[in-house]
Symmetry: C2
Subunit: 163 residues, 2 copies
């Protein structure tokens, strides 16, 4: 799998008020700063965990961190897809939609090794204009280690008004 | 819901080599130190997130952290239950079994407020001697905010030999 650096990520253009997520908010200085962009018609998030992110098995990654990656990759992917459906792209000045997670399902297929970049690749499915599903495969060293399915809903306007 | 301090938690007696999990390892100084114990025939994990653990919605908790809580609560609950099935209890000097997560399903029912303790309450189901399921309800301020279902398998001996 070729190395990929995402030039444009949907999280780069979330409104400031909604850019504080511990997983993917660019303004949360303590967070993971996950970034999700297009690669053809797939969505991609790449993340290299820190050594502290060990799991129950020595030398392998914490499952909760993998779930976190799949969660934020899901909301970023849905935002990318709806943004594009609305006729917009990152960089055209438009504000992207924000999603919240309804359900998060993760299947751990193999222990995920530490000290390598993790790559989540997503396929986005619209199941309703306000309800989207993201199918994710997560690779470490080109090996499929986890699979995820996330259902997300467009963030209600009541949340958007809150600050 | 009454305040509860867990005197005995299964994570307190995991073998040192398997006590480094970012979520629940007592030896991981950067981790969450989740602790899971019995409350009657239910299992309980209580955790108060830090202010940095914000989600995409201002004032609410990151879903990936909730997934992490439900994951470690699941493996702790399964370990408690199999330990008891084997005739052992925390404090009798016996070494508890360790589990790894096979699948993690989380349903986010309501946004989870920040700055309050989260309480996960689990019901453990044996579906096979080496495969257990934990049904979890997660409360914040006595309000059910998330529901989880985790399938766990006894950690293979090949992992146990690894160091």
């Amino acid at each position: 799998m070729e190395e990929l650096v995402l030039e444009k990520a949907i999280q780069d253009i979330y409104p400031d008020d909604f850019a504080w997520c511990y997983g993917c908010g660019r303004l949360n200085k303590d967070g993971h700063h996950l970034r999700t962009g297009w690669q053809g018609d797939k969505t991609v998030t790449i993340f290299t965990p820190e050594s502290k992110h060990s799991g129950g098995i020595p030398g392998f990654i914490y499952g909760g961190l993998i779930a976190s990656l799949i969660d934020c990759h899901g909301s970023g992917s849905a935002a990318l897809a709806l943004h594009r459906k609305n006729g917009n792209e990152i960089g055209d000045g438009s504000i992207p939609p924000r999603f919240v997670t309804a359900t998060l399902n993760v299947e751990f297929l193999k222990p995920t090794p530490q000290d390598v970049p993790l790559k989540a690749i997503g396929t986005v499915e619209e199941i309703h204009p306000k309800r989207w599903k993201v199918h994710t495969e997560m690779f470490a060293n080109d090996i499929l280690c986890a699979r995820g399915e996330v259902v997300l809903v467009v963030m209600p306007s009541t949340f958007r008004k809150k600050k």
